[in-house]
Symmetry: C2
Subunit: 76 residues, 2 copies
Amino acid sequence: MKARVHVMLKTGVLDPQGEAVRHALGALGFTGVEGVRQGKVIELDLAEGTPEETVGEMCEKLLANTVIESYSVEIV
Amino acid sequence: MKARVHVMLKTGVLDPQGEAVRHALGALGFTGVEGVRQGKVIELDLAEGTPEETVGEMCEKLLANTVIESYSVEIV
């Protein structure tokens, strides 16, 4: 089974990487880009039957810094 | 409107970041993690009516290195 984890900076936390992308898109001539947020996506290849809660635990312990980042787990 | 872009390393391209995560999960006692791939997710806040092709162009020109990375665009 596969699980996909999205880790994004929480709203209000400054995202310099996203800002850099926004500026670069503007410089390339793309108009109408109002905001960019960049995060991580982690695809996990897990043993069959791993419960979703285990993936949540992985996020809490390693994958996300829950002080500034939020995460979502999706079983695919 | 919002668009979400996923950028992942192509299959066969070495992913040291993903490997590091896999080892760390093992060290934390999580068993059954057979593989980890790490990529980027970019959330774009765009002007209404921006066509999906424009987002594809942004990926080709800036967001993804198409030599080693593949991308997918999702309008949300």
